[in-house]
């Protein structure tokens, strides 16, 4: 006698996607249909966290392998960006406004956290609009917001810059290290990482839509499934990709249909395009990737910290022995690193992949068995 699955939710749109029966059913179905050796890359750090937190790997047949990608903004921010932010914090009177996960990233010599302990005015904010508020309330002080994040986050920075302009704030600045996903996904494949498909980022895609992935199946013969972040979502996305690989028919599909439309969020795209334009950008461990970053357009250059504040930043160097770059490229995993979990821990991180909560090393550390 089959039991009936009831799917109720105390936290709507979360709890029902953590339903154990649905997860196990997807797992059974995967084991039934999966024949080929498959490697899938989850691009987004949020997915890496979900995979380990919910023990997804243990639910897959042994021939399906998951590989973490470069979708952790803190991890891929260049050493030069961190060093520049630290140099800004030393300018008298300046307020640095930043998302919390950035402050512990080791720069070449120090970190924002250490500088904050020395008395620099470095403030952790939840929303970039908090930084605009700080500028409004501290008109005599420059407020520099450290803009990191992919397409999910960049529109918020754009909206903040437009708001600052409408309020005629002349003391709000942004140091942009915002990046976009498609160029790095293609760069990894061109560099030779061997995968059959991408579990594509859900919230990046909520903004961009899925047309940005269209050439991955046609040019690179890779499947793409945009996934949500709950375990049922991820199992279903892996199932969809496995079906594509097994049938030899790679395409772009959306698992996370409740949040992602083919054309994305047009308002957010419009604001992002109004304020930012593409630039070649440096990724930690990956070097310069053409048109992978976002810089502030000339029209809004009065908000561009890089144009206004000139600081001397010494030639930067990656932490010695750290393989974060190789991990971001999918070439190594944290357990390949001799420093992992001994010299390098979340309490005393050596490299950026251990700093951010969604960094691959930090995730492996937290859920290591």
């Amino acid at each position: 006698m089959r039991k009936t699955v009831t799917v109720d939710a105390r936290m709507k749109y979360i709890d029902e996607y953590r339903n154990k029966d649905l997860i196990l059913a997807a797992s059974d179905e995967l084991k039934r249909i999966s024949k080929k050796e498959i490697t899938l890359m989850e691009v987004c750090g949020g997915h890496t966290m979900a995979i380990h937190r919910f023990g997804i790997t243990a639910l897959l047949p042994p021939n399906i392998r998951l590989l973490s990608g470069p979708g952790c903004p803190v991890c891929v921010s260049s050493q030069h960006f961190i060093d520049t932010a630290i140099a800004y914090s030393k300018i008298p009177g300046v307020i640095i406004a930043t998302y919390g996960d950035l402050i512990r990233v080791p720069g070449s010599e120090t970190s924002l956290e250490k500088e904050k302990a020395k008395g620099r005015d470095i403030r952790i904010i939840y929303s970039v609009l908090d930084a605009v508020g700080m500028a409004r309330n501290n008109k005599e002080k420059p407020v520099i917001f450290l803009g990191i994040g992919f397409e999910t986050t960049a529109p918020a920075t754009a909206a903040a810059i437009i708001k600052a302009k409408s309020e005629e704030l002349d003391n709000f600045f942004v140091l942009s290290a915002h990046k976009v996903m498609p160029p790095v996904m293609k760069a990894l494949v061109e560099e030779g990482v061997k995968i059959n498909g991408f579990i594509a980022p859900g919230h990046v895609s909520a903004i961009t839509g899925t047309t940005i992935y269209d050439d991955l199946p046609s040019v690179y013969n890779l499947g793409v499934v945009v996934s949500g972040f709950e375990p049922v979502d991820m199992m279903q996305a892996i199932l969809m990709l496995t079906r594509q690989v097994e049938s030899g028919n790679p395409k772009v599909e959306i698992q996370y249909k409740r949040a992602v439309q083919r054309n994305g969020n047009k308002t957010a795209q419009r604001l992002m395009n109004e304020v930012f334009e593409p630039k070649d950008d440096t990724w930690r461990g990956l070097g310069v990737i053409p048109v992978s970053g976002l810089k502030i357009k000339e029209n809004f250059s009065i908000f561009d910290a890089g144009k206004y504040f000139k600081v001397e930043v010494p030639e930067s160097s990656e932490p010695k022995g750290c393989i974060c770059g190789m991990i971001l490229r999918g070439m190594k995993t944290p357990v390949d690193c001799s420093m992992f979990a001994n010299q390098c821990t979340p309490a005393e991180p050596v490299g950026a992949c251990m700093v951010s909560g969604e960094g691959t090393c930090a995730t492996y550390y937290r859920y290591r068995s």
Binding site: R2, V5, V7, R10, M11, K12, Y13, I14, E16, D21, L22, L24, A25, A26, D28, E29, C44, G45, G46, G71, C72, P73, V74, Y99, D101, Y126, S127, V128, L129, D130, I148, G149, F150, T152, T153, P155, A156, A159, I162, K163, P201, G202, H203, A206, I207, F229, V232, Q236, L239, Q255, K257, R258, A259, V260, N265, T267, A268, L271, S356, E358
Partner: protein, 74 residues
């Protein structure tokens, strides 16, 4: 970093909404999302509502999953 949480809209006042997540209230900027109404669910990311959650699509996803579940007991 790209974390976004489903939040229920309880009121809308110009470019700002009040939303709840597990009975805790938050403010959500609506600068990136138009046509938001009380009762909608939105994804909240760094203080911004970035997309609405489509209840029909959610139901369809759930239907497909229940189908797999049903068949797995075959």
């Amino acid at each position: 970093m790209c974390l976004a949480i489903p939040a229920k809209v309880i009121s809308v006042d110009g470019p700002v909404a009040r939303v709840t997540i597990e009975d805790v209230e938050y403010t959500a900027s609506l600068l990136l999302l138009e046509d938001v109404n009380p009762g909608d669910f939105v994804l909240l990311h760094a203080g911004f509502a970035i997309e609405k959650i489509d209840p029909d699509e959610a139901a369809e996803t759930m239907r497909l999953l229940l189908e797999i579940e049903k068949n797995s007991h075959g």
